[in-house]
């Protein structure tokens, strides 16, 4: 017999409370391990993406030390690909750097949204958090903190660092592996298109609201119209148009909702 709708919330709530109790009972070492375990599914994306970075960068003429330099010092996939793409397009150095940074601007938002949870950390801890703050470690941590708001600072930090270690070290190792194995990959497979497909696959699920779709649409149209500009420049201008469109549409939607209510 199917459970009646009224009886459903109770077991779910009980399960959530049990999960919270388990989270609160973890000592820092256990919280660290839990963070590692919860990040394991992300490796399905991170490892191939990092290997691809190694291969693509090698094809662009970047040597292994520099490929490792990217993955260790920048440690941000999309911006690493962007920089390599623009380097092989012969874009000016400053354009390569600014475009790579533009791709990472979203991380300022991550940084801001972690403040309420991690502001008590020491300066050194905050520096390590900043170094390992990637999309995946952010997404895991913020969900964990919001589900279990009563965690201590030590438990929050341990969870974050567990997740960060389990994702950042494989990122670095797999990009080295890709660069090492890259020579063995035949030239005639359409590797040039691996990065566009990966990026499109990352963007598509983010198009949740009309504002996100409009931002995406405007930035595509502008990028195509401005493609004649020196490489990278058109992209930066188009991105600004897209961001402004998204923000304006968000404001407009909010106003309309307020007026309607």
């Amino acid at each position: 017999m199917a459970p009646s709708p009224a009886s459903q919330p109770e077991p779910r709530q009980a399960a959530a409370e049990a999960a919270s109790a388990r989270a609160l009972a973890r000592n820092p070492a256990q919280a660290f391990r839990f963070g590692m375990i919860q990040s394991l599914p992300f490796l399905i994306v991170i490892v191939p993406f990092a290997m691809l970075f190694g291969v693509v960068a090698l094809e662009a003429g970047i040597d292994i030390a520099q490929i490792l330099g990217f993955s260790v010092l920048v440690l941000a996939g999309a911006s690493q690909f962007t920089a390599v793409q623009l380097l092989s397009d012969h874009a000016p150095t400053w354009v390569v750097i600014l475009s790579g940074l533009a791709v990472n601007l979203r991380m300022a938002m991550y940084s801001a949204s972690l403040v309420p949870w991690l502001k008590g950390a020491t300066g050194r801890q905050k520096a390590w958090i900043a170094y390992t703050l990637i999309d995946q470690s952010y997404a895991l941590a913020i969900q964990h903190y919001e589900h279990h708001p009563r965690l201590t600072l030590q438990q929050r930090l341990a969870y974050f660092f567990g997740a960060a270690v389990a994702m950042c070290i494989p990122w670095i190792a797999a990009s080295w592996l890709g660069a090492t194995l890259g020579r063995a990959i035949p030239d005639d497979i359409a590797l040039d298109f691996a990065m566009p497909i990966t990026f499109l696959a990352m963007i598509a699920p983010m198009l949740r609201t009309p504002a996100h779709m409009a931002a995406c649409f405007v930035s595509i149209v502008a990028a195509l119209l401005l493609a004649g500009l020196p490489s990278g420049l058109g992209m930066m201008i188009a991105a600004l148009f897209g961001m402004a469109t998204g923000a304006l549409l968000e404001v407009w939607t909010e106003r309309r909702q307020e007026a309607g209510s």
Binding site: V74, K119, L200, A201, P205, S219, A223, M235, A238, A247
Partner: protein
Amino acid sequence: MNEAHSDLSIWVVIILLGIGTFLIRWSFLGALGNRDLPQWFMRMLRYTPVAVLPALVAPLVMWPAATGGQPEPARLSAAIVTVAIGVLTKNVILAILGGAITLFGMLYVLG
């Protein structure tokens, strides 16, 4: 790689991009502490991924370097399939797989 980027200029890119990225990530948590951000700024940040990445990818889809900048059916259809699967399933891995299968399938068929 051509002469436009020497080893040194690639290292300059790596190091400055590394420092800049670190500062972006560190900004609010490390430097600005608890201060509130202007709302317009937070709004713009919300749209950086969906504005920056499409602007980067769109020309690569329309005018791929591999075909000498000519629009090409295999790459165009791979892009469309990837976006469609991504929007419908919200699953990054499925979208990548669908796009890759379309690309290689079309390249094989078109020979």
